[in-house]
């Protein structure tokens, strides 16, 4: 625990540092480009649309018209692969615009693409449940687009850094001088204390990738304009995928001791095992589940608070509230910069901890 506490303190200082210049940078970004178009302002709808995935990348509204980047829609239908740009729906989310491709008709209702029924629309049953069947949807959505942007930035940042090491084997310079301490932080304060000196090397690439992907993804989500804006960890599915990968790594690197602990917990009487085994098995799954929810909830909560503060201006319909909104959302931005790094750290730390438990040598 001492090691965790220590590394946490170091991490905290590091995070404060990023906070300090991040707060300056975001000053002029707090003016939301997302002014509502109609007079009746619905804060819930605004916030939901911001934290939900979408087929378009919404950039701004201009004269009541949404300006957005259309993203490719990729559908695996009954008749094979169908692709078209999402602009074909003309921002329709109510199932009114029918797109006909490859002899099939598609409508979009609340971000989900369905086969249009005989009337060329969607039909409902009960409490607004759509009865239409839908094709498998492999569209490049806003979150997928954000993930790709993040991944591209990571590749563009880290591969040149790696190349710079080939030329310069002395002290690191420039951006590698900035990022090397972070890489060493992941190695010396996350991987080695939790996994152990002998086995940590195998897991370093995963831990580093996760750490920087989450951190960068979170930071990109805090930049409120195109092509950033989208937050990876705002999507429960993305955090779920990450947690599942950690879970799979944990399971596949689990040694005899790890499985022994689950199916024959040492020091527990035999007759208790029927109770213990389900508990332990459940424990296997709750760990990644907690990872998923924690990562998802933190940044999402922050975004909801910032958006709510901004929505205050429109709810009260006065500009006089804006100093309050701006002051509070500034504070929230600072906090989110901290949380962005903190969540990357926590996710990586817990992944390392779980892997460490799985590969731990039992004597």
């Amino acid at each position: 625990m001492i090691i965790v506490g220590n590394s946490f303190r170091r991490f905290f200082h590091l995070a404060l540092l990023f906070c300090s210049f991040g707060a300056i940078a975001q000053d002029h970004q707090t003016h939301p480009s997302e002014t509502p178009e109609d007079t009746s302002f619905d804060a819930t709808k605004l916030i939901n649309s911001h934290i939900s995935d979408s087929h378009e990348f919404h950039i701004a509204d201009w004269n009541g018209k949404a300006i957005s980047l259309p993203l490719p829609v990729i559908l695996w239908t009954d008749n094979g692969l169908v692709t078209f740009m999402s602009s074909a729906f003309h921002h329709d989310e109510e199932g009114k615009v029918v797109v006909e491709r490859g002899g099939q008709q598609f409508v979009r209702y609340q971000d989900e693409i369905y086969y249009a029924d005989a009337n060329g629309t969607v039909s409902f049953e009960g409490e607004g449940n759509v009865v239409n069947s839908r094709p498998l949807n492999f569209s490049i959505t806003k979150n997928v687009f954000t993930l790709m942007v993040t991944a591209a930035i990571m590749l563009l940042v880290f591969i040149p850094i790696a190349n710079s090491y080939k030329k310069n084997n002395r002290a690191p310079k420039g951006i590698s001088g900035f990022l090397e301490p972070l890489i060493l932080f992941v190695r010396d304060d996350i991987a080695i204390p939790n996994i152990g000196e002998k086995k940590y090397q195998k897991y370093m690439p995963y831990l580093l990738t996760v750490f920087f992907l989450i951190w960068l993804g979170n930071l990109i989500g805090l930049i409120p304009f195109f092509p950033f804006q989208g937050t990876l960890t705002n999507d429960l599915l993305f955090t779920g995928v990450m947690a599942t990968i950690t879970f799979l790594i944990t399971i596949f690197s689990g040694n005899k001791g790890y499985w022994g602990h689950i199916f024959a917990t040492p020091g527990v009487p035999k007759w208790l095992l029927p109770i213990m085994i389900p508990v332990e098995v459940l424990g296997m799954f709750t760990k990644p589940f907690a990872l998923m929810v924690r990562l998802f909830a933190n940044l999402t909560a922050g975004h909801i608070i910032i958006l709510s503060l901004m929505a205050l201006i429109f709810i009260f319909e006065t500009a006089w509230i804006s100093p309050v909104s701006i002051a509070f959302s500034l504070f929230m931005y600072g906090l989110e910069l901290l949380v962005a790094a903190l969540q990357a750290y926590v996710f990586t730390l817990l992944s390392a901890l779980f892997i460490g438990q799985a590969v731990e040598e039992h004597h």
């Binding site: 934290i51 939900s52 991944a151 990571m154 880290f158 790696a162 990738t209 429960l236 993305f238």
Partner: protein, 163 residues
């Protein structure tokens, strides 16, 4: 928020993450971690080398000190030897000179003794011959008249009886 078409994000997340992971592992993490490890090793090596060098210098210093000490001891010994030799030589020379002198003195004494003896003998002879001449002259003088001759005979005769 509603989760819509989960398959798209799961599919792309897995694909993008896998590609990102493979590319970064091959082209970023391995070279970076390798370089960092290499640098750490080289720093450790350099520190070790510096340590060794320092130890070597210390050893060298100690060696020098030892050599100097030995040289000093040797010099002292040599000086001592030289002093002893000098003293011995002086003593020997003194001794030789003494014996030589003694010998010369003895020889001189012998010569002197011989000369003295010769001188004494010569003196004796001269005294004897002088005495004889004087006695001759005296006798000649005294025996020049009758009376004196008779007196002498009387004296001699007196002496004979007195004896």
């Amino acid at each position: 928020m509603n989760i819509t078409h989960p398959e798209s994000l799961i599919f792309w997340s897995v694909i993008v993450f896998a590609i990102l992971f493979i590319l970064l592992r091959k082209y970023a993490w391995s070279p970076i971690l390798g370089a960092v490890r290499g640098r750490e090793e080289s720093i450790n090596r350099a520190l070790d080398a510096a340590d060794d060098a320092r130890k070597e210098v210390e050893n060298l210093k100690a060696d020098n000190e030892k050599l100097l000490q030995e040289a000093r001891i040797e010099r002292d010994a040599m000086l001592k030897d030289a002093r002893e030799i000098k003293e011995r030589m002086i003593a020997e020379a003194k001794e030789t000179a003494q014996t030589q002198a003694d010998k010369i003195i003895k020889q001189a004494q012998v010569v002197i003794e011989g000369e003295k003896q010769a001188a004494v003998v010569e003196l004796k002879q001269q005294v004897a011959s002088l005495s004889v001449e004087i006695a001759e002259k005296i006798v000649k003088g005294q025996l020049s008249d009758q009376e004196k001759q008779l007196k002498l005979v009387d004296t001699m005769l007196d002496q004979v009886t007195l004896n």
